[in-house]
């Protein structure tokens, strides 16, 4: 068991479900500690409980739809979503207070470090509440969704399984960009929204101002807002009653043919793919044969249950309930988020909203040490087992050797993927400047979707007739003092202002249409730095727009460096070109010959720097006793050369590639 646990600890778990001690049959007969074997270290286990003998299993038949509430918590980053979730779990006795790590549902190291949620998690809680005059046991599913726009599709699918949402807003910071984006996602899903003004214990808390913002921005009734401090516990007792009273039960019918929504999946070394599902209609039993509406593939359900807090076999899931299934899928790629699963040989209407993953940002990933290709390959394979939303194709570069072109849902997704590759799989990578999927159209009618700038011909055979680039609608909320610099920044980034208003006397709200390319590199950092960290920013995909794009090649002594090619707007080519060559001049060491660094569009050079030849590198004195030492120095120098990437005869240090990522 312990090795099993260890194996899982650092990997991920998408979901965990947690039971309460209040009304559950198991809970009443067992001490709490036996229920929560892993709460101490917050690791969890996907193996069904060994002590679940016939008769002691949870009987989900006790929870008809009317006694179920499915809800989610949505918030801007750092507004206290994860802490509130922890408190609710404690309040229902699902986890013990003071045990288990904070941010219980954020299992990944990257989630904890960044305070973000990347993967959806759910927790099943049980709560007794006086409802319509009588004490009733309720089954509550908390579906914790990623907050970031990169995962907005995943969020929308998770929200589709909910009927309500707690909209958490920091009492001091008020409404922020992600609050807006998340509100609209919930609103569009027709969810009952319960505003929760959190962190009211802060000295700078101003709940009335936040209430006014909620009213003016979202037309939410100020009297509906709950005032809480997840830290001190203030007001928390109102939360679950509000969930039960204000959120409607799931609407599905147990008697209809089975339709279940696939929310997410992960790979378990022992059980294979575990899917997280919400039963919309009908009922699912162990042994049922099911079929995917998206792929047409059939599977037999070998295990079904809820999370308790580890996976707990129930043998059945009924309409409105949320749980897991194991069905013999070989890879998480077969488990498409948003897919509808149904019984084989039944005809159903697939649930609305299914979309295949849409990759918005592409980047080349190469092993930092060329010989590590196999290691990187292995690491990527393992990681994509648990993150099927990344597209991976092999590519090769003359400068960097064999590597991969990876497509990501967005910037954060890319960042998280890199971080997980390094943290969880020990891979050392060089990544190329991220790019977005441009479309180039030529006079012969051909269209080229460019995921790798190097693949775009510098001197095409046919005349270019149009290029198009993806755009986003960006939401920016800032203290009004910073409006000027932010408008300047957005204009520099080719933004088109769509909306400019004030949330209240202190906060401005702006909407811009911007080319995705412009925010891919360092936009958010820049925005934060010019607003002293006060800006909040979010974006959603928008359509493609025609744009004047050019391919910018970087040449070293006349040789193009494929991994450094970028596609930029013509108006920016000169500036970016200059910045790139200056950066390179700084990061390429002098070599035995002069190096000419150029940026060029086609055959036209637009920026140029010369790195003069090295003048001296000699170990002066070398007496007998010194031979070993001198040799070590030279060997070190040799090893240093080996780590460099070589284009033509020019050695390029890895840092040069890292630095280029920072040029917009």
């Amino acid at each position: 068991m312990s090795s099993f646990r260890r194996a899982l600890r650092s990997k991920l778990s998408l979901f965990s479900s947690i039971s309460t001690s209040i009304s559950h049959p198991i809970a009443t007969t067992r001490p709490l500690s036996s229920l929560l074997p892993y709460s101490q270290n917050a690791s969890f286990c996907s193996r069904p409980r060994q002590n679940n003998k016939e008769g002691s299993t949870i009987d989900l038949n006790q929870y008809p739809s009317d006694n179920i509430r499915n809800f989610s918590i949505i918030a801007h980053v750092d507004h206290g979503k994860s802490t509130l979730a922890d408190r609710l779990l404690e309040l229902t006795g699902t986890i013990r207070k003071g045990h288990g790590q904070p941010q219980y549902l954020d299992k990944l190291q990257v989630e904890r470090e960044r305070g973000i949620t990347v993967k959806a998690q759910t927790a099943t809680m049980f709560h007794r509440h006086k409802f319509l005059g009588s004490d009733t046991n309720f089954l509550l599913n908390l579906i914790d969704t990623p907050g970031h726009v990169d995962f907005s599709y995943e969020v929308s699918r998770s929200l589709a399984a909910c009927q309500g949402a707690l909209l958490v807003v920091d009492a001091a910071q008020g409404v922020q960009a992600q609050t807006v984006a998340n509100f609209y996602l919930a609103f569009e899903s027709n969810l009952a929204i319960i505003p929760v003004i959190n962190k009211i214990d802060q000295p700078t808390a101003d709940p009335d101002r936040v209430k006014a913002q909620l009213k003016s921005m979202f037309d939410l009734d100020p009297s509906d807002a709950l005032l809480t401090s997840a830290k001190t516990g203030h007001g928390l007792e109102q939360v679950l009653p509000a969930v039960i009273d204000r959120i409607p039960p799931p609407p599905g019918r147990s008697t209809s043919p089975l339709r279940m929504l696939l929310l997410d999946s992960y790979y378990d070394e022992y059980k294979g793919v575990i899917c997280h599902v919400a039963i919309v209609d009908g009922a699912l039993h162990k042994g049922d044969k099911i079929c995917s509406a998206a792929t047409g593939q059939s599977y037999e359900v070998s295990d079904v249950g809820i999370m308790h807090p580890e996976l707990v076999t129930t043998g059945i899931l009924l309409a409105g309930q949320v749980g897991y299934i194991v069905s013999g899928m070989r890879s998480t790629k077969e488990a498409r988020v948003g897919d509808t699963l149904h019984h084989t040989r039944t005809v159903i209407h697939p649930l609305p909203g299914f979309k295949p993953a849409k990759h918005m940002v592409f980047s080349g990933l190469y092993p930092a040490d060329g010989s590590d290709f196999e290691a990187l390959n292995h690491a990527i394979e393992r990681l994509t087992c648990n993150d099927a939303s990344v597209s991976v194709t092999k590519e090769s570069s003359t400068a960097l050797g064999l590597g991969f072109r990876c497509g990501f849902l967005g910037l954060l997704h890319m960042d998280v993927f890199h971080q997980r590759l390094e943290q969880e799989h020990g891979a050392h990578v060089i990544s190329t400047v991220p790019t977005v999927p441009y479309i180039f159209e030529y006079s012969n009618g051909s269209k080229l979707q460019v995921q790798n700038p190097a693949a775009l011909p510098s001197n095409p055979k046919y005349q270019l007739v149009a290029c198009r680039e993806p755009t986003v609608i960006a939401t920016i909320i800032i203290p009004s003092d910073y409006v000027g610099p932010v408008i300047t920044l957005c204009a520099e980034r080719r933004g088109e202002q769509l909306e400019y208003s004030f949330i209240d006397s202190q906060r401005a709200f702006m909407k811009y249409r911007m080319p995705l390319r412009e925010i891919v590199v360092d936009f958010y950092n820049e925005l934060k730095s010019i607003t002293s960290g006060y800006a909040s920013f979010d974006y959603e995909d928008s359509e493609y727009q025609a744009s004047d794009l050019v391919k910018l090649d970087i040449l070293l002594n006349g040789q193009p460096v494929d991994a450094m090619a970028t596609i930029v707007h013509k108006s920016k080519a000169l500036r970016v070109g200059r910045e790139l060559v200056e950066k390179l001049k700084k990061f390429i060491d002098r070599q035995m010959f002069e190096i000419i660094i150029q940026a060029a569009i086609g055959s036209k050079v637009i920026a140029r720097e010369t790195l003069s030849a090295m003048r001296k590198n000699v170990l002066a004195k070398c007496y007998g006793g010194d031979v070993t030492r001198k040799r070590k120095l030279l060997e070190k120098q040799k090893e240093g050369k080996k780590r460099m990437k070589r284009v033509g005869s020019v050695d390029i240090p890895q840092e040069a590639f890292h630095e280029l990522l920072k040029v917009s």
């Binding site: 010959f593 590198n617 000699v618 002066a620 070398c622 006793g625 031979v627 040799r631 030279l634 080996k642």
Partner: protein, 471 residues
Amino acid sequence: MLRSMLTVFPSKIKTRNYSNTIIIAITNSPQPVRRNASTEYMLLQQQHNPTSAYVHLPFCRKRCHYCDFPIVALGLSSPHGDEDEDDPRIVNYIDYLCREIKATSVPSNYNKSPMETVFFGGGTPSLVPPRLVSLVLETLDAKFGVCTDAEISIEMDPGTFDVEKLKDLMNLGVNRVSLGVQAFQEELLKSCGRAHGVREIHEAIDIVGSCGVENWSVDLISSLPHQKSHMWEESLSLTIQAKPTHVSVYDLQVEQDTKFGSLYTAGEFPLPCENQSADFYRMASEMLRDAGYEHYEISSYCKSGYQCKHNYTYWINKPFYAFGLGSASYLNGLRFSRPRKLKDYKDYVQNLENGLVNCFQDSKVDAQDIAMDVVMLSLRTARGLDMKSFGKAFGSSTILSVCEVYKPHIESGHVVCLDEQRREIAAEEFSSLLSEGNKINEVLAYIRLSDPDGFLLSNELISLAFNVLAP
């Protein structure tokens, strides 16, 4: 067979087996030195019996700011030593040194041969009273023999000796003096913490002259902090005026854990920038060449016939003994460094006497290591790398790979190819010979680095060869 021979090497191999020629496969693709490649080259060098001895005399009045050698600072009190009362620290050290020499055995595969060169290095060997130097020489002579015409060098610092002391040393057989001048500018001497001034330098030069030392060297350091071009030029011309037979020019190396290391960063003010420092090197090369000195090694110049024989054993990778604190010997293809701390060194001598030290067993000589040493050391010399014997030892495929990697640098003039008669092979000719594969092996006899361009970038060029030898 070869493998088993190698694993027992170095302690068991016998000289008479050396004629075994190893058949070397020739391929066109670049190949690293095979780990078990021919032992011939190392044997070529190692079959020479060691006839050189380095003796470390670590005492200094104070530590110079650039120095990270194993030294013992005595303090500034008695600059000339007291004839009647030798410093007990020196006496004690010399005692251990002589014990070390006595306890050292001639490695079994060498024959006992008398020393042809002895080098007293330091430290400041001129601080050691001649009577004690004599003890060391006598001990060496008793142990190995010292040839009557042996080159016996001693490093001397201005201000640490007078006519009488030098005469005494000469009477012991010392016949080569290496004078640690470093610079001719008071402010520079001061800033690098030298224990003498310019006046002492001139005095020392006069003493050397009046004692009639025929073979002597001036040591200079370029790229000192605050050193300006005109200062360096002055140092070089004053050196040339003094007419030593040998000049060593060291480009300052800022070592960690030295005062300079904590104060300065190479290439940054007040140290000269890289270009300036390269110019200093060029200036030395040019001025000394014009004054009739031969630039025979990266940092060594001499009048014809006055190469330092002792140092040359290093460049041609011949074995040598070493005695004293922190010194490194090279025997049986193995470099062995003695402890750098006095106490550890004394323990080491004790253990040596008790038969507890074995510097040879348990470590294997690796052909690749030897190849790298040979390349690194030969390319420091004007003679260059002897490609014929190198090819014989490590395979002509290795030669081809080295040629391949140096090709652009031959074109750029950093590397020079020479035939058997030491005529330069032009870059175009080299390219065409190389494209014909084996042809190059017939014609090419030496590869050397050009002076000064190739020498100035020797680290780059040597590490390129390392890449070929040990990828």
